[in-house]
Amino acid sequence: MKTAWSAKSLERWPAAGPRDPAEVGGGSEKPVGRLVLRNRVDACSFALSLRQERFLDIIDRPSAPPERAGRAGGTDMAVTIFEDLKRYVGFTDADAKRLRAALPLLRSHIRPTVDRFYDEILLHDGTNRVISGGAAQVARLKETLTQWSIGVFEGPYDDGYVRRRERIGLMHVDVGLEPRFMIAAMSLFRTSFKNACVEGYAGDPRELMSLFLAIDRILDIELAIALHAYHEHYVSRLRRQEKLATLGQISASVSHELKNPIGVIKMSVYALRKKLDGTSEPKIASHLEKIDRNASRVSSIVSGLLGFARSREPRRVEAASLGSIVKEALGQVPVPANVEVSVELSDGLPALAVDEVQMTQVLANLVTNAIEAMPQGGKLKISSRRIDGREVALDVEDSGVGIPEENLRRLFEPLFTTKLLGTGLGLATSKQIVEAHGGRIEVESRQDRGSRFTVRLSASEPSGAGERSGAS
């Protein structure tokens, strides 16, 4: 990435002795201190790499809650990590004071730095996927980054500080920002902050060096907290994948074994019903009906499990129009008379390179859920929009009961269901399918107002697709 920052103004500073080792937090700082004065940016990297193992030691404690369900648990751990890091890098009250004292010098530099950062980052292809909310989102992000920058110098470096930092880290993870952007940003801000301090401390190079060390310490801590959020996310994802793989294997094996006994039950029920005549006890017919209905239900659960266990790689990728997918999906789902369906597809959307059968299954599932969320009837709206040049979003919106906040995070987990007759596999399977196409599925919901599921797909050919045919 091309940067608009320069470290030139730092290079003219003559070498000076390091601070008191006790103040900098350990003897290992000494050689680093000399390097700092020759080439500050290199020295930061060097110091960081020296410390990396210790950082990872601290970060890698068996702390991450298994499912990140406990963000509260994660935060407590982040607070502990924060205290450990402060102690380890030797971040002292003197550092806090120096940073606070430097803030007036920096205030006028922060916003232009933030603007330059976003000018730069928005040129990068990878950010378009993350920052898709246009100017309003960029403005919000700039404000967050400005407040973050002020916070770095203002403190106070307490529990509230680390909680705010962790929230930002989790936000990065949630929006899918790759860690390299965050690390690059940290490096650029480090240089920019230091550049901004140089003029103000022209007469006191020793104090400037101390301020630089304070900046390094707090930014190293910031980086560690941000990386902790990524680490926690990846560990949790890894565990989840292991769980899903095991679940998939068990499901496939158990489901296959269940097919035969279900078949026998259904066959025997069929044989018995054939033998019933009009004079038979009506209760017998009713019980047989129940046995058959429930055997069918078990069969459908087993089919769902088998479907979930199967690989979701797109099998037949072709150029498909959203219109035909919507039409096909609506044809598969019976719509009650009290549900009003509207379809609003934008003109001129590119064809999608998808497995049409799988994508129809996803949409049919979302439509089914939407209808079931409106037991008293309501409005179901299917619409499409272009997010940027490469992405198309398909929204399925209902005016139903909405999804409670506590269920939103678990919604795509296999076997999670709030429906009386649900298997909890529909959304999990849909998510697998969409992600196998390189897309994303998201949900927004408001209690008693309804929900909106959004499927975001690339108009280009997805990676990892299996058999392909036709133009795309």
Binding site: K259, N260, P261, G263, V264, K266, M267, Y270, A271, L306
Partner: protein, 118 residues
């Protein structure tokens, strides 16, 4: 009377299906595995063959290949609980007729009737 050779290692399934077929006028010979299916076909010269795909000792596909090596035109349906369309598609692409379990009897009976009339 049309003779059906039915091979399935699940005894309950085989007996239930055999009962229904018998009531519908078929003569049914039951085999418990692929090996036995090949042997009983030789003895019974069945008109139609129904084979489960996954059986001990010899799979339904292998058994059918052996049966067809001596009687190439015998109509046959493979039954499988592997619901994967990929699997079913592959078996179909290889030239076999396939029905997924759990079997819906009226559908099987109708298919069997059509095969028996050939």
């Amino acid at each position: 009377m049309t003779t059906v050779l039915l091979a399935d290692d699940n005894a309950d399934f085989a007996e239930s299906l055999a009962d229904l077929l018998t009531e519908d006028g078929y003569s049914v010979v039951i085999a418990r595995d692929g090996d036995e299916a090949v042997r009983l076909f030789g003895e019974s010269r069945a008109d139609v063959v129904l084979l489960d795909v996954t059986m001990p000792r010899m799979s339904g596909i292998d058994a059918l290949d052996r049966i067809r090596s001596v009687s190439p035109s015998v109509p046959a349906i493979l039954l499988t609980a592997y619901e994967s369309m990929t699997f079913a598609d592959r078996v179909r692409a290889a030239g076999y007729d396939v029905m997924l379990k759990p079997v819906h009897y009226p559908e099987l009976a109708s298919w069997l009737g059509a095969l028996a009339e050939r």
